[in-house]
């Protein structure tokens, strides 16, 4: 009966109820929309970062990442590869030689990061093959072909077929060694660093040049099953310290990117709390107006045997009913607004943020847990907003309320 009473009371002033519901609903829409865009942006950034070169995880010898020492190759490679093969969620892997080197042409020289890759393996991991804008991608694990970024090509005034010399220190003696390559393709990834200072060559050729036959600096990994955050559902077990290898997820390889997604969650929580608090104050005001308007009526209700707690519950139920109406309206509006942006997206292409360049439009992306959390948050804050009016009603003396009769 109290719930029925609350529900009917709510609709006595339809305009006011709809306006209040709309205020809560718009708050909910704002939260859901902002959140889906933030999730979409994070997903986009993580995808860009993990699709380009990094992969979802990388294995190195301990110390390689800091020192970039050509001698620091993965220890017990066969055992490491065996471990990778057994993992069911591993979609692709790329075994790489990575070395700092000097690229020279008739137009000059530039320090570059050279990557020796198996083109077939690398194709499944990064998008260099798709990023080729001129010429062609590498076609063999050995050979003298080389591809590089368009900015580097511009700087060295290179054209397809040009001869290039790569100079680097070998792993045995540390002596500088040179190898002649021919430019077969130019790529444009959109990543400033890669386009300006990275070259890809056949892995076996680079291994031979650096006297690293059978050895590998880096294994980049791609998983098939990822969480919505872009982390693997079932990541590989980290190697023991005794193996002297390390296996790092992208969250560890690029902590700034991971931090951004964590900060986004925190800032959304703060923003949501502030937004809903402002809305809650408005709802408190509306409920108080309703309470004062019906003071005599509540006096009658209390005088005929409704306990203070039962009377307060009428107010709380009114808030819950208002909350539910708002949630339904808010969810419908939120789905409509986000559906619009799912179709059209927001174009941030080419803009770099935290070391990652947006390659595609940003589309809203749902986190189902949030679609549950935000409606509960708005219901919670609506209920919070009703606490003061409910307390007033609880404390209200029926005899005083009966004196407030409107004639």
């Amino acid at each position: 009966m109290l719930l029925k009473l609350a529900w009917r009371n709510l609709w006595r002033n339809r305009t006011r109820t709809w306006l209040s519901a709309l205020v809560i609903a718009i708050g909910l829409v704002a939260m859901i929309f902002m959140d889906t865009m933030m999730v979409g942006m994070n997903t986009n950034m993580v995808k860009n970062a993990t699709d380009s070169l990094m992969g979802h995880a990388q294995m190195h010898a301990l110390g390689f990442r800091d020192e970039q020492d050509v001698k620091l190759t993965i220890n017990d490679l066969d055992q490491a590869l065996l471990q990778l093969e057994k993992h069911p969620d591993l979609k692709a892997r790329s075994l790489r030689i990575v070395t700092q080197s000097m690229l020279s042409s008739s137009g000059g020289g530039e320090p570059v990061l050279s990557l020796g890759v198996d083109p077939e393996e690398e194709q499944l991991l990064s998008k260099f093959d798709e990023a080729i804008i001129e010429g062609e991608y590498l076609d063999s694990v050995s050979g003298q072909k080389l591809i590089l970024g368009w900015k580097l090509a511009e700087k060295l005034e290179l054209g397809l077929g040009d001869r290039l010399v790569l100079t680097a220190a070998d792993a045995e003696s540390g002596e500088m060694v040179q190898e002649l390559f021919r430019l077969s393709g130019i790529f444009k990834t959109g990543e400033e660093k890669m386009d300006a200072s990275m070259v890809l060559v056949a892995r076996k050729t680079l291994q031979s040049m650096l006297k690293l036959e059978g050895r590998i600096h880096q294994i980049a990994l791609r998983y098939s099953k990822l969480t919505q955050d872009g982390t693997p559902v079932n990541p590989l077990k980290k190697p023991d310290d005794s193996s002297k290898n390390e296996l790092l997820l992208w969250t560890e390889l690029m902590p700034s990117l991971y931090m951004i997604s964590q900060m986004t969650d925190l800032s959304m929580a703060i923003m949501g709390t502030i937004l809903f608090l402002i809305i809650a104050l408005g709802i408190t005001n509306t409920l108080l107006m309703g309470l004062y308007e019906r003071m005599f009526e509540f006096g009658v209700i209390k005088s005929i045997g409704t306990t203070p707690w039962q009377a307060a519950r009428i107010m709380l139920f009114e808030a819950v009913c208002l909350g539910f109406v708002s949630i339904i309206v808010g969810l419908i509006l939120a789905l409509f607004v986000t559906a619009l942006f799912v179709n059209y997206g927001i174009d941030y292409t080419g803009i770099e943020f935290s070391g990652v360049t947006f390659q595609e439009k940003i589309y809203p992306s749902y986190k189902w847990s949030r679609l549950v959390l935000y409606p509960f948050m708005s219901l919670g804050f609506t209920l919070l907003a009703s606490l003061y009016p409910a307390f007033k009603l609880w404390k209200m003396l029926p005899v005083e309320a009966l004196r407030k009769r409107k004639f």
Binding site: R12, V300, G305, V399
Partner: protein, 229 residues
């Protein structure tokens, strides 16, 4: 000997403090017996409504003691008083005191719902009263769809349906024309005689005074006469 359902002993009630203090009730002693049909009369400001509010625990006394159905009202908390009124006291106010968003049926069964009366019993009692008060067919109407007299009959049904020990009515005919008021009074008198229900009115209405079995006259917060007719 008939049981006394209300005992008021040396009741004082003051509003305000210091120079603005007004003595609404002064040294009131009153006993209401089961089956009484009593009217508290007196000029405006004599303390009739205040006394009625105190008798049902809606207002506190400044000093003195009130016992209703053997229980001291001063010792009860707000929640206990509400439950006590629900079980023992039926209240009838001036007109337009129904809950506007509830239908006639829901208004009448409201108190029984709070009392957790089983649905079948509730239904039977509601329909009995609807028939007695000539409200059949109005069950699903909202108060705004009824005349003043019909609304007051619903209010009487609501007060009586839970079978309280006593019905307190504050000027129940004040907003009704004399014919409708007379009909309502006849009904209440009938319930008083047939069901032995106790009624206490505060009123100016000569019709009530005429039908009352007992007239209690208040002047300036004092009982100046208490006569059985």
């Amino acid at each position: 000997m008939e049981e006394t359902v209300i005992v008021a002993h040396k009741i004082f009630k003051a509003f305000g403090e210091g120079e603005t203090e007004i003595q609404a009730l002064r040294n009131v002693d009153l006993g209401i017996k089961r089956g009484d049909f009593a009217a508290i009369v007196g000029p405006s400001g004599s303390g009739k409504t205040t006394l009625l509010n105190i008798l049902c625990g809606l207002d506190n006394v400044s000093s003195g003691e009130i016992k209703v159905s053997g229980r001291s009202l001063q010792e009860m908390s707000g929640s206990e008083l509400a439950q006590f009124r629900r079980e023992h006291i039926g209240l009838v106010f001036q007109a337009y005191n129904l809950i506007p968003v509830l239908t006639v049926l829901e208004n009448i069964e409201y108190v029984m719902l709070l009392q957790h009366v089983p649905a079948a019993d509730r239904k039977e009692r509601v329909h009995t009263f609807l028939a007695e008060l000539g409200l059949e067919g109005k069950e699903n109407k909202f108060p705004a769809e009824l005349s003043g007299g019909q609304q007051q009959r619903v209010a009487i049904a609501r007060a009586m349906v839970s079978k309280p020990d006593i019905i307190l009515a504050d000027e129940p005919t004040a907003n009704l024309d004399s014919e409708t008021g007379g009909q309502l009074l006849e009904m209440m008198r009938k319930f008083n005689e047939e069901l032995k229900m106790t009624f206490v009115f505060s009123t100016h209405d000569p019709q009530i005074m005429e039908r009352a079995k007992r007239l209690i006259t208040l002047t300036d917060g004092r009982i100046v006469s208490d006569e059985l007719k």
